[in-house]
Structure formats: C-alpha cells, structure tokens
Amino acid sequence: MVREIAQGVVRPLAAEVDRDHRFPDEAVEAAAESGLMGVLIPRQYGGAGLDAVAFAVCIEELAQACASTAVIVDVHTSVGTEPILLFGDEEQKGRWLPQLASGELLGAFALTEPASGSDAASLKTTARRNGNGYVLNGTKVFITNIGRAGLYVVFARTGPDDGASGISAFLVPAGAPGVRVGQVFHKMGLNGSPTGELVLEDVNVPAANRLGREGQGFVVAMRALDSGRIGISGQALGIAQAAVDEARELMRERGHEQGDDFTLADMATRVESARLLAYQAAWLCSRGRPFTRQASMAKLHCTDTAMQVTLDALQIAGEDGARAGSPFERHVRDAKALQIYEGSNQVQRVVIARELLKG
C-alpha cells in the first residue's frame, strides 16, 4: 500500500518539488489519507499502532520515491510525535495525538540553535515561569517542516542550570502569539522540505503544554532522536535503493562493462548490509530493548552508504546524470543532508564509541 502511494503519487512529483522548491502538498495529503502520519501512534488515538520496523519500511518506501516527502513525514512521525507518545500525559495524548495521526497537524522538532548544534545541551532559548505557564524566548534553527508545522516540540531552558538538566520540552502551537518563521534556507537538496528558523518572542505556553517534568527535556530530546535515527536510516536506504535501481536500469538499457558492473555490485551490497543494520535497530526498539548504539550505527552506516551509492550512481550515469532534473544528481544533493541532520555522523561516532567504552 505504501509502495503504491509512493510510486503512484509521490514519485511523479519528486523532480518538480525539487526544481520549484515547493512543498509536496499532494504527496503529504496522500500519505495522511493512507494513515502514514500516524504509523507509530496507537489505534486508540487514531493511529495505525505499528512498530519501529514498519515505520522504517514506510519511510524507506517514501524516500525511494521522493526524499523531501520522506523527511517531512519522518520528522512529523518520529521526533515530532514520539515525544508526546513517550512522555506525554493522558490529557496531552488525547488532545494532540489524534490530530497528528490524521495529518491535520504536522509535527516538528525544535532543538538546534545557531550556537548550539552538536552541543545541544548548551541551548539558550529560555522558558520563564509566569503564573500557571511559561514565557518562551529564543531562536531555533534548521527546523524541518518550518512554516508548515502546526505543532512544534520546543526545547528551552527552565532552570538556572546551564547544562542538560536545566532543559524542558514544550508543545508550542504554530499559531501561538509570538511564534514566527525566520529565515527559510536555500539548501543544496531536499528542496521540497522547508528548513529554517523558528523565532519565539514572548510566547506564552500553558504549563499543560510542558512534556514530562521540568528538567527532563534533554532526556526527551535524546530518546526522540534515538528513534528518529531509525527513520533517517530508512530515508537513507530509500534514496540509496533508488540510486541502485536507476543505475541498474540505465546499465541494462545502454550496455555495461565490468568496471561499472563491479561498482553496481558494491553499491547493492552496501545497501543490503545497511538495511539489515537499520532493521536490527528498529527491531530492538520495537521490542523495548536498548537500541541507542544500534540506532546510531544504523544512521551512520545507512547515511554514509547513501552518500557513497548516490555518487557512484551519478558516476555511472555520467554527464546525462548531472543534468538538473535527473534523479541521479538529485539523489546526491538529497543524500548529503542525511550525514548531517538528526545528529551529524561525527555525533553518531561519539555515541557509538561512548556506548562501546562505557562501564
């Protein structure tokens, strides 16, 4: 079913949304109608109630068709929604999850700041207590779904502590007074997915919109990113698989020699090994077992694979593939983002090494 939508609705739009830098409304609507926006949300809240393995597969299928659409749905489904699933109280779940599951609300995740990227715990956005609520001030940057999201999960500092323990998580509706979209970036790829600044100026947020306890925000962010990395792995696999398939088709049509044959063999082998790693992480997650290291390994390996494989496919396609509008050059531009976001691959290595060396 996902493949049908991906190939039937999403894929035909991919070149156009890339060229025109436009949001793939039709693709996201189709995803919503088929229930993709609520894959991980339990049935009682209107979702499909599926697990991380199903989620990874869905994102992979979407990314095979259009990487922009995949990241829009991925961010919504994982880091945009999971913090509520994992840390929300009953009232919060009942209020927000049905709207997120139906796609009526698009979710987003606002952690990064201009001076706080890999060092997320150093964020400066403040949430000052004010009666029965908070007042948020600060600027978030590199926010996927900017301007399109109806609900942002925002991380801000509530305590005097300037480290991780002073951070809390909030649900901030896009329509709240003082919420503004800043610069929207012109990027190398993923042009159908808007990325930009979220500016918060004296935004009043009721205490009922705080996720988890005060000071628990960093834990919320890290846990959300762990499963977010499974989604990004799926996205990487989809892009990589598309590159392999398109290179294969091209070689069949025009003939091939052993040099390119070997490249294709290496590409397919890399993708296959990356897929197994991603599914392993997703399976562990779905079983409630520790999966931090595996999720980081999957994100690192899948995204490095996507970069390598898309470059190889473009090399096989040659100058025809470098023409704007060719899927080969688009895959390369799209793939690069994946080595950077949801924890750069340097951060993944830090996480993996820490997990390996601890205790």
């Binding site: 890999s118 060092d119 190398m188 100058e319 470098a322 023409r323 976001y341 340097q346």
Partner: protein, 379 residues
C-alpha cells in the same frame, strides 16, 4: 618530487591569485545562483593576459606551458569553478591548433584567442557518442576547397559563447575512428547553432551547450592535420588537457578546505572550537594529505606534458582520476565540517561540492581514465 616553479610562473600565479580574490571570489555565489556566464570575468581574464597563458609568445600568448595553465586554473578554481573553465576551455580549444596545426594555421588562428578577443570551445561528444568517441555521427563532406558539416554535438562547454570551435567529424564514415578529422570553425564564417543549454548540478556559470551543425561550410584550410588524423589529435589533446581538470579539482578542494579549516577554528561547541576535537582533527589531516598528494600528481603530469614525456598519457589520466576523486571526497567532507551550515547556500562549500562532481565525469569519465591507465600498464 619537488616542483620548482620559475620566477615568471610564480609572478603569473600571484597576479591571478590577487585578481581572483578581488574580482572573482565576490561574484562566485551569484554566478552559481543565476547560472549566467560571467562575461565580465572573461573580459577581466582577457585584459590581464590570462587567456594568453595557453599560447606561446610566437602566437600572441605569454606561455604555452601546461604547468602555468594548471597554476592558473587551480588559483581560479579555489574561488569559482565556473570561472576556472574560462581558462581551462581556452586551453582545451588551443591544444588541437598547437598540436596539429600548420605554422600558417597557428599564426592565423591563435592570436585572437591569445588576446581574449575570442574564446574557444571543443566539440567531440555527441548524444550517442560519449566515452565511445569513435562512434560519432557528425559528417564532413568535401566540396572543392571546403567541407560541409552536419551533425549534433553534446555537452559542449562554452559552445554558446565561443568564437572559435574545434569540431571533430567523420570524413570517411567507413573507416571508423580512422575516418575522423578535426576542423576549426570560426563563428563569423562558419556559424553553428546552439540548440539548448543544460541546467546542471554544478559549474552552473559555465554554459554547456548542445550544438547543431546544419550544412556549415568550413574552408579546407581550417582542417587540422590530415584527413583521418582527428581521433589521434583528440586523444593527444585530452592527454594535455587532463592535468588541467586535475588542477581544477585541486583548486575546488583547496577552496573548500580553506573555508572549512577556518570555520572549525571559529565554531564553538562544548565550550571549545570544534577543531580541538580529535575526530575533526583527523578529518583535517586526511583532507590536507589528499590535497597534497593530488597537487604533486597534477603538477608532475603537467611537467610531463611540457617535456613531452613518453608516459604522459598514463600520468595525465592518473592525475585527472586521482585529483577529481579526491575533490569529491574532500568537498563532501568540508560540507560535513560545517554541519547544517554546510548544506545551505549562504555558505560556499555546498556549491564547491556540486562543482566537484563534474571533474569526475568530463574530459573522459574516471572509468575511461582507468581504462587508459590499465591499457598503458598492460601494453
């Protein structure tokens, strides 16, 4: 191996470096965004003698040395890969005339190129004939003292802006690659048609044209070498021009690295510059080492071109292969070093990464370079 550049070469390089920093670097982002050929920079290069570098003094130029050409391309590519093609393609168009032209042809055809009054282009590839150049379909039929050319040429860098076009065409279609001849078309007397311009992943300021030749008349005096010598000329030209693509790749990588190196020293995370982390330091060390190795190979190849060394074909292919693969890896890593900022067009490294890719593809894909190298090894 240590490369001793002459005082004159260093003076030329320093002049170019200064011009590029003052006049080209500030235009690079805009050239990429608009995708427009920078006529102003062509003029700047012409006025400052840079377009005369590929030509010896006897033919109105200032050098003719491949080493000097590579130094120039490298300097320009550090700031703007599109602009570096203005010199690189001038050299590519010059080589067939210098390699195969008669004294009369050199004296007549070179000076307007050396002065920069005209820019050159080189038309070998066709829609059905890329890596397999011998499969070309363009025909040249002799009628008296002229040839009439018909055919379509594909991916012709500067085909739309050039005043002089070196074209390869079949004079004897039954003779396969031994039936190919080379011609010099001058736009005023042998006009060609630009069918379309490509939109590309990178080098967007360097127009890539599809050219159509419909009954284009070329005087027989503009045939380079004998009939049937075209394929040999094409290969000899590519031997000489490949170090230039290596130099372009080298410059792109150096430009990206200079920017990223500065960035990691400035960017603070975890209370310290990210350059203080060993994971970043190792990336810097690997990048710098790859650049250094490529520089030596590129200038060794250029030196061999200048000395007409017997193994220049192999070394030129190695230089192009190694430097362009290096540039792709290095620019990809430089985007990584800037993180999210690397991915947006407010910063130059994403452009450099997009520009790097073509160096692995044009003037013989890197698959073809490997074929050339293997053939030389197994001969």
């Amino acid at each position: 191996m240590d490369f001793e550049f002459s005082a004159e070469q260093i003076a030329i390089r320093d002049t170019i470096r200064e011009l590029v920093q003052d006049r080209v670097a500030p235009r690079a982002a805009e050239i990429d965004q608009t995708g427009e050929y920078p006529r102003d920079i062509e003029r700047l290069f012409a006025d400052n003698g840079i377009l005369g570098i590929p030509f010896p003094e006897d033919y109105g130029g200032i050098s003719g040395s491949s080493v000097t050409i590579c130094m120039g391309i490298e300097e320009i590519a550090k700031a703007c890969a599109s602009s570096s093609l203005i010199l690189a393609v001038q050299a590519l168009g010059a080589y067939p005339i210098l390699v195969a032209g008669s004294e009369e042809q050199k004296k007549r055809l070179c000076p307007p190129l050396a002065s920069g009054d005209k820019v050159a282009a080189y038309a070998l590839s066709e829609p059905g004939s890329g890596s397999d150049a011998a499969a070309m379909k363009t025909r040249a039929k002799k009628h008296g003292s002229e040839y009439v050319l018909n055919g379509t040429k594909q991916f012709i860098t500067h085909g739309s802006v050039a005043g002089t076009l070196v074209v390869f065409a079949q004079t004897d279609p039954n003779a396969n690659h031994r039936g190919i001849s080379a011609f010099v078309l001058e736009r005023e007397t042998s006009p060609w048609k630009v069918e379309k311009l490509e939109h590309k992943l990178g080098i967007r300021g360097s127009p890539t044209a599809q050219i159509v030749l419909e009954d284009v008349k070329v005087p027989a005096a503009n045939r380079l070498g004998e009939e049937g010598a075209g394929f040999k000329i094409a290969l000899a030209v590519l031997d000489r021009s490949r170090p230039g693509i290596g130099a372009q790749a080298l410059g792109i990588a150096e430009g990206a690295f200079a920017y990223a190196l500065n960035y990691v020293k400035e960017r603070q995370q975890f209370g310290q510059p990210i350059s203080s982390f060993q994971g970043i330091q190792f990336m810097l060390a690997d990048i710098a080492t790859q650049i250094e190795a490529s520089r030596h190979l590129v200038f060794q190849a250029a030196t061999k071109v200048d000395s007409k060394a017997p193994d220049l074909t192999k070394i030129a292919a190695m230089a192009k292969l190694f430097a362009s693969d290096m540039a792709m890896r290095v620019t990809t890593d430089c985007v990584q070093l800037l993180g999210g900022y690397g991915y947006i067009s407010d910063y130059p490294v994403e452009r450099m990464m997009r520009d790097a890719k073509i160096t692995q593809i044009y003037e013989g894909t890197n698959q073809i370079q490997r074929v050339v190298i293997a053939r030389a090894l197994l001969r």
